[in-house]
Amino acid sequence: MAEIKLTDLTKSYGPTEVLHHVEGEINDGEFIVIVGPSGCGKSTLLRMVAGLETVTSGEIAIAGRRVNELEPSARDIAMVFQNYALYPHMSVRENMAYGLKIRKLSKAEINKRVEEAADILEIHQYLDRKPRQLSGGQRQRVAMGRAIVRDPQVFLFDEPLSNLDAKLRVQMRLEIRKLQQRLGVTSIYVTHDQVEAMTLGDRLMVLNGGYVEQFGTPIELYDRPASVFVAGFIGSPAMNFLPATAEEDGLLLPSGIKLVAGLAQRGQVLLGMRPEHLIPDAAGPIAIEVEMVEQLGANTLLHGTLSGTDHAMVASVSGHVSAEMGTVHRFAVTPELLHLFDPETQKRLEA
């Protein structure tokens, strides 16, 4: 079992720096999800841990051992790739046994481990098939099987579910989580899907443009996003942002309305409100002119603008709500659920 420590990790391709001073400590047995938009460097970070990319500066340590210079095979890790990367000319059994054969394990031991993994993943009936005879979900299982037979210290997942259909993705997500809890192996999982990230991770590392925006539990990220980026990235539909002025007697919204809140801040701020925190209230201070209604069944999304301005707003209301285009709906919001950000630094301001 192993903990992973990333110290001042930087990656450059020529003069272009793509990861900037990444810091992070991952505890033994923890499931960490690295999440961010495409091109944020999350896969690069994972591949650096795997040893498939070189480290420009800084240090990666697995179980207290510096691994920067070690070959991937010497790091005692297993990786599940986005396209599964199964060996197409080998049967499922041979795929799983390949790494064990290289380690010169005995035939009996290899057989035992492959059978165990096949039991866990319920892929017994496919053991003698070739990868091309399997469906996407089955290939995914085989790829995981190949990872777990090796009994590594660390699992690395590089967007393993992005090639599956939506239903299967949800199912596999749960299975991966259960498997990881059962085996207790430290895992790093890369995804761009924030729902996947929220449901899987013990902790999330949000990357943006090569910088770590925030590293914390899913609920921390949701309740106290450290920056405008995290606030907008975590949660669906995304948070509403309004420029506002913090004055002595409250927050002045662009619509000219004041939200009463005893704030310590003064001056220009960026106000964030989650759509699901807007509560319908005929006397509420926030008026939204509805432009479009999305019926999702369990709840309804009202898209529109803050009345009298052209700032886009979304409100999520539970149940079925019918709203005419152009009508104005009013909402209230609890002061504790407001988020304030510095418009300059984009960082969170504590109220």
């Binding site: 795997a50 991937p72 095979s73 197409p88």
Partner: protein, 293 residues
Amino acid sequence: MLKRVHFPSSPLPYLLVAPQLAITLVFFIWPASQAMYQSFLIEDAFGLGSEFVWFENFEALWADQHYLDAFLRTAVFSLLVAALSMGVALLLAGFAQRVVRGAMFYRTLLIWPYAVAPVLAGALWVFMFNPTLGIFPYFLDFFGIDWNHYLNGNQAMALVILAAAWKQVAYNFLFYLAAMQSIPNSVIEAAAIDGAGPGRRFFSIILPLISPTTFFLLVINMVYAFFETFGIIHAVTQGGPGSSTTILVYKVFNDGFVGLDLGGSAAQSVVLMVLVIAMTIVQFRYVERKVEY
């Protein structure tokens, strides 16, 4: 089943394929049928008349020990040419794929030999291996090897094999490189994480995955060795010394245009034609079906 699509009939499609058809007719169908016809004839010694003899020419071929020797020689020659050129190409492609800097430069250089005409390639090797002037015999002398391919049949054979294989390396290299590049990188990376070193990855992952290309190239190289090496042999050894480098295609030329046995020569070329047709059928039938993983 594909549905038939109906186009308004017009002479245009026929006009467009006409040039290709004309070329095939003039340069393949007509000479091939002439050869076929000729193979049934025996000319008299003065070339004044010919007699239709059915399969007598073919019967004579199978009874001729020289011809059977040439057959065996051709098999050895083409197998060695294919093995050598494919082996070297595979090695080069494996390394070229690992090159990061200046990859285009290396690849361009490696492809150049393919643009050299066979006779020129032959001439190059003749100069390099000339027993009195050549650089290689000079080096070989240090190892106690007395090189003279004008006298030693095995050395002559080795030389034409080298020259023929060298010319084909570029072609094989291109195909192997393309095949290797079509293997997803993550498969190689997965093998690396599984603990396989470069050598093991090459033999247990890359080689099996490019086996369809290997099979395709084997057929192509055999056909090349059968036919297109004529220029090289003509330039390097002219089939000699004795007949130690006379492969089938060279014997066709020798018997027909030097020995003036037109009927026998035509019969030989018909046999060659049947061989290449057989190889092509093998390739079309099996290249996609048999070697699949």
